[in-house]
């Protein structure tokens, strides 16, 4: 008690100052028209803002519950589909369907270059995730390249922008196919070679992967024809292809596992051995 009195004797004026100052603020906010309006508006804005932020937070924490709800609802819908005699659409990554030939593994690009003569891309998935050599890699807008080396947690992709990367491509409209080559200067363009001159090629034709490649499913977009000409005396078109992927801005890509690749390669080997 004595200490309290001493404290008040020492800091009484300051305590009084704070109390009276609070009283003043109360008077200002409640009995002055302008200040009351400003205070009212500002506190509305502040309360609105903070409750919005609070909602964001609580929403974030309830995400898992919502996910469970959605999954349960999905299951219910599928059940209804089956009961109605319709088969549900197979999932994208599912290998359970008998004829599923391709499986996708999502990976993040950890390193990438486009300015060298031979460009490689490093992905953050490796042997542990089931990645193997010679798998194809696609991005949001089409073909990226082929896996050439795999470590435990990482893998290296020979991007299309590599002088020794040969991907079998075809013109979607006519079905004529040939290897893609990068000349090594502009990361937006590659060249399509070996298209015989009796095929017509038009600017704007889509270039897609051919079915001869074991790396990619047939018909995945590579780019569109930007320029074409037939050099005099040559039997092949000279085709410049604008890539649909922007190789300088890759983030997530998908690795394609061809579950029947070994079978196909085996057959090819047997034939060539004979």
């Amino acid at each position: 008690m004595r200490n309290l009195v001493l404290l008040f004797l020492r800091f009484g004026h300051f305590i009084l100052f704070v109390l009276l100052e609070l009283l003043c603020l109360y008077l200002i906010v409640n009995y002055n028209r302008t200040q009351r309006e400003i205070w009212g508006n500002s506190s509305n804005i502040f309360m609105g803002y903070s409750s919005e932020k609070f909602n964001d937070w609580t929403n974030y924490f309830s995400l898992r519950d919502k996910m469970d709800d959605l999954a349960a609802e999905n299951a219910l819908l599928k059940e209804k589909l089956i009961n109605a005699g319709l088969t549900p659409v197979p999932e994208r990554d599912s290998t359970s369907a008998l004829n599923a030939q391709y499986k996708l593994i999502t990976a993040e690009v950890t390193n990438n270059s486009t300015d060298r003569p031979n460009n490689h891309i490093i992905l953050n998935k490796g042997r542990r995730d089931g990645v193997q050599k010679d798998m194809g890699v696609i991005g949001d807008n089409g073909v990226i390249g082929i896996i050439i080396r795999v470590k435990e947690n990482y893998s290296v992709v020979n991007s299309l922008l590599h002088r020794r990367s040969f991907i079998s491509a075809m013109i979607k409209r006519t079905g004529a196919f040939g290897p893609l080559r990068w000349i090594g200067s502009n990361p937006r363009y590659v060249n399509l070679a070996d298209i015989p001159k009796h095929h017509t090629v038009e600017v704007g034709d889509s270039i897609v992967t051919s079915s001869y490649s074991t790396h990619f499913p047939k018909g995945i977009l590579i780019g569109v024809v930007e320029e074409t000409n037939l050099p005099s005396g040559s039997n092949f078109h000279d085709i410049k292809v604008l890539l649909s992927n922007d190789f300088s801005a890759l983030d997530y890509v998908e690795i394609i596992e061809n579950l029947k690749q070994s079978e196909q390669l085996e057959l090819e080997r047997e034939v060539s051995d004979e």
Binding site: L20, E21, C24, I28, N32, Q35
Partner: protein
């Protein structure tokens, strides 16, 4: 002692009257430039005796502020500024203490400590008083420039008015 109290009461009456009746109506900047107001009454707080207890100072500050607020019809605005002035007055006195110290029997006037000392002492307190006053009066952070502008314009003219009063009236305490 009682002489001092009577003197201060008379001064309070006079200052509040001048502030409320004359200076409140003064429009120095004309109709288009209303940045300049004349805030003279804080001089009363500056001139209170040196030995006024801090807690009394705070109470007097609050009372004077409320009196002015009654005439300005702005409950709490002047009172809040006066409270700040009252709480920092001992600090200002400590900062500007002359080399030979204060003389308890003398008032805090030009006559006792000289015009430069008074200018620094009154200027510091007045500037802080006006800053707090205009912050609470305008009450919007978006108008920070207006707050500063009004504070500076009012400060110059009010301080000039205070110095005029000190030189002409020559108060002893």
């Amino acid at each position: 002692m009682s002489n001092t109290i009577i003197q201060n009461l008379l001064r309070l009456f006079f200052f509040v009257l001048v502030q409320a009746v004359v200076l409140q109506q003064a429009k120095l900047g004309g109709a288009y430039f209303n940045y300049i107001s004349l805030i003279f009454y804080p001089l009363f707080l500056f001139l209170l005796p040196l030995k006024t207890p801090k807690i009394t100072l705070v109470l007097i500050g609050f009372g004077v502020g409320m009196l002015i607020d009654a005439s300005y019809n702005s409950p709490g605005v002047h009172a809040a500024a006066c409270l700040v002035t009252a709480i920092i007055r001992p600090l200002a006195l400590a900062i500007y203490e002359p080399r030979e110290g204060y003389n308890v029997s003398q008032g805090l006037t030009i006559k006792s400590y000289g015009p430069i000392w008074f200018l620094k002492y009154a200027g510091t307190l007045l500037f802080i008083h006006l800053l707090v006053y205009f912050i609470l009066e305008i009450f919007t952070p978006a108008y920070t420039l207006e707050i500063i502008g009004r504070t500076i314009a009012t400060f110059i003219f009010s301080l000039f008015l205070m110095m005029m009063y000190m030189v002409i009236a020559r108060p002893k305490i």
